[in-house]
Symmetry: C2
Subunit: 338 residues, 2 copies
Amino acid sequence: MRLILDCFGGDNCPDSAVDGALLALEQDKNIHIALCGDESAINACLAGKEYDKSRIEVLDAQEVITNEDSPVLAIRRKKNSSMTVGLRALAEGDYDAMVSSGNTGALLVGASIIVKLIDGVQRASLSPLLPTLIDGRSTLLVDGGANVDCKAGMLKEFAVMGSTFMSSVCAVSNPRVALLNNGTEEEKGNALTKEAYQLLKNTDINFVGNIEARELFSGFADVIVSDGFAGNVSIKAAEGMGNSIFALLKRYITEGGARAKLGYLLLKPSLKRLKNIMSGEAVGGGVFLGVKKVVVKAHGASNDVAFKNAIMRAKEMAEAKLTEKIAAAIAEKADKEN
Amino acid sequence: MRLILDCFGGDNCPDSAVDGALLALEQDKNIHIALCGDESAINACLAGKEYDKSRIEVLDAQEVITNEDSPVLAIRRKKNSSMTVGLRALAEGDYDAMVSSGNTGALLVGASIIVKLIDGVQRASLSPLLPTLIDGRSTLLVDGGANVDCKAGMLKEFAVMGSTFMSSVCAVSNPRVALLNNGTEEEKGNALTKEAYQLLKNTDINFVGNIEARELFSGFADVIVSDGFAGNVSIKAAEGMGNSIFALLKRYITEGGARAKLGYLLLKPSLKRLKNIMSGEAVGGGVFLGVKKVVVKAHGASNDVAFKNAIMRAKEMAEAKLTEKIAAAIAEKADKEN
């Protein structure tokens, strides 16, 4: 597997990105990684570290797309940025997937324009994998924020792509696909979800009906379909609640005196485990479904382990032939509609 | 203050409702409460209890609107339900406010049709008060789920009503009003929020810009304006995260053996305090802004204390002349637009 890693644009770049790449090389002997970005800065990160030099290359790129850049303008004008150089290499070269922790909007625009969309796909979606209460089971949210104004047909497309992702990458057979809504009954919803419900009912996918946002983490569905606005708002609201709970707990422990502090020390492993699971990389991370090759967005604040995990996930998606399978599913959907 | 309490339609009705009313009578000597619902059932709940009989009356109503009822049909057909009898008494009689834990949609429709909307208000909103990280400060979400398809002008109306609520009922001077969005920058948003942003910028209210859903509980804004779909999804997503965290913590404590259990016992007061704050009555509760008299929706699962709190809140709103002040603010807004 030949992967591309955008080493710039994230909070801890390029150090964490480069270290993450080296961790990935160590973990998997079949990976080759092209590091994108300022060559001398990347070489400085690599200097003195032990790694298999035959499995690392550097694609030099002098510019960086920042989070302040306008996505469309950045992709159009910063032709020599680490992100665009990486995307062009993915589109034109012998590479299987790319990971970036940079500007999400720019990565979406760049992936759609440079790597291009799968035939028949209207818009790429950004799809985070959410943790659930069921061990080893995740839920894919499509769309987590890429498309803030959707038509019902797009939600149907999200359902097809999400279902294909869960069956091919996560080995879920006959994935349960639910529609994010403000109630579970069929007649519930706004104009968009009411129309989408009727479309989803008449597909071959395993549509299990509406789901409320309080079930985001229950593992009730394998795929949750939503317009990008509601999807984005829901994961950020959940993140806000998680952060608030941990912040308040910290305050109450301080105020609770010696007894609370001892309790905290004893409970620390459980609380740490909880924080690891629930304050994950859902927000700001995920895969862009609908693009011709695998493009994974790593969380902007990724450390080396997060980069390594994102690289391993991208590799799994490429190995599972995710994009080819989505192309086949979209073609089949189009056949049925004609 | 003369209040009406719908004693049916909630999970623990009529017992908790009646007990809540008695708690309220005890707490505040200036309250008179009309209990709505099956008279013999209510009298059975009252039997043997000590209370000031001159401050309780019963409005007999033989029907109950359930959560399975269609809101519009229920209001139209169940003319003798505890909810409709209560709403008619509020509209026609000498009462100041009403509390119900019944079918939210029916209460919205009933309040709008029977009690009627304030002149110039297009639609009533359901507005929950969210807890925040700042002690003693709450944030009002308008709309939490009543209007799932909104136009930008409705969001402006929500802003005016929410701002009036926070200044008149919560004594917040110059309330900060924010727009729920998928990013903080002015150019962010879907078609609705982009248009609403421009409208909100040109008002007298203290519009502080966009807010992301992760700030729901930060206390950053006094009022958060949203269409009812995104508002509903965001509070339910937050609720889902809260429930998931407490469920996982319980599981990890069980798995953590004696050490974790001891830690839990020591930390129990802090955890309980946390749970009390963050798993409140936000979802499924709130005030209907835009109705001619105060109508408060109590959480469907309200116990006696929750009913008492809802009654006290309704009384505060009526005392603060909330609906009169909203009427004045809406009239002033209309004047400026003409």
